[in-house]
Symmetry: C2
């Protein structure tokens, strides 16, 4: 006899446990929770998952998750088309949008180059980025990729691909967080923030 | 524009976030994970949830989750029918089964009496427990309920209901965990383990 008294329960627990960060115990808790609620709760969860996966569209321009062929951001006539922020995934778009500091467009790579995980440039949306930059006469590309070896490799690869093109490339500033004490900042961040110091002009946007 | 670039994504995130212990950030991570996997992954998760909720059966005898009218445990001819272990929910059954120390049957109350949460004896499977004890000529009832005020109330309620019946009632032993140092054991547990001391007979099953 299996650990679970019901095959149906076991199947659901195993399916939940395949999600990242969810172990068997949590999966069982979720399944038992659904069993305590009415049928509608389970049906709306189940159907939402299936419908999302089947009907989702990726924006043909920036690869953002979208319900339409062109996402809301790319469709928006008020956004500057001459500046593109390159990010790893959709969560980064949401984080930057929340700051309200960026009015250009995005390009979602869908990952970073990682030979260890078998992710090569061809697995990412880099070709479409290059084409887009050349076709849409983009003036500035902001690289907002993670500060890992993989992120750095990806930045360098994009930089190389764009060499000789008439486009300026920048990377978001890394440094000590606003409000952080210097003594608690890690050495690498503090070191970089000194190397990448900027001229102080009275207020300095701080 | 909503925080999410897609209504489909938003719906799924909201549905995931209704599960216990899953916030909006985790829900988004789960949804994006599913989008990265193939359609089959989402369909098997979604369908497993819906199918489980629609087709699940509760054992007509012990209220265990089951695929059939009588659960595997109640069906098993090798289990003693004269002894019933009363537990709060199915996870307790799994925990006790894992010990391999119990060969009787279970009865799942589906909760404990809690006037604060509006849970009265009528909301629990207590009547069916009493009937079962009288009809099946059960000789011993083991109460394995939580050591909370609600658990204690429930134990006492069942004890009162069974008074005058020819059935012995016991509760599982509470005490210092095997391998635990006395100095790190909480006072209540240590105090109870002294009050409920048992005669030492050489090995004492330790």
């Amino acid at each position: 006899m299996s650990e679970y008294s019901s095959k149906l329960l076991e199947t659901t627990v195993n399916e939940f446990a395949r999600l990242p960060g969810i172990g068997k115990k949590t999966a069982l808790r979720l399944a038992l929770h659904l069993l305590k609620r009415d049928i509608v709760t389970s049906e709306s969860l189940g159907n939402a998952i299936i419908k999302m996966r089947n009907d989702i569209v990726f924006c043909s321009k920036c690869n953002n998750i979208s319900d339409t062929q062109l996402c809301e951001l790319c469709k928006n006539p008020n956004r500057k088309t001459s500046i593109i922020c390159v990010v790893e995934d959709i969560r980064d778009v949401m984080a930057i949008e929340n700051t309200g500091q960026f009015n250009g467009l995005y390009h979602i790579l869908g990952g970073v180059i990682s030979p260890m995980d078998g992710i090569s440039p061809n697995d990412l949306n880099i070709d479409s980025l290059i084409n887009r930059i050349l076709e849409d006469e983009v003036q500035e590309v902001i690289l907002a990729l993670p500060t890992t070896m993989e992120g750095d490799t990806t930045c360098f690869y994009i930089y190389k691909r764009l060499q000789g093109q008439n486009v300026s490339i920048s990377a978001i500033a890394r440094g000590v967080s606003i409000g952080d004490d210097l003594e608690y900042t890690d050495e690498v961040t503090l070191g970089r923030s000194i190397l990448n110091r900027i001229p102080y002009e009275g207020s300095n946007n701080m």
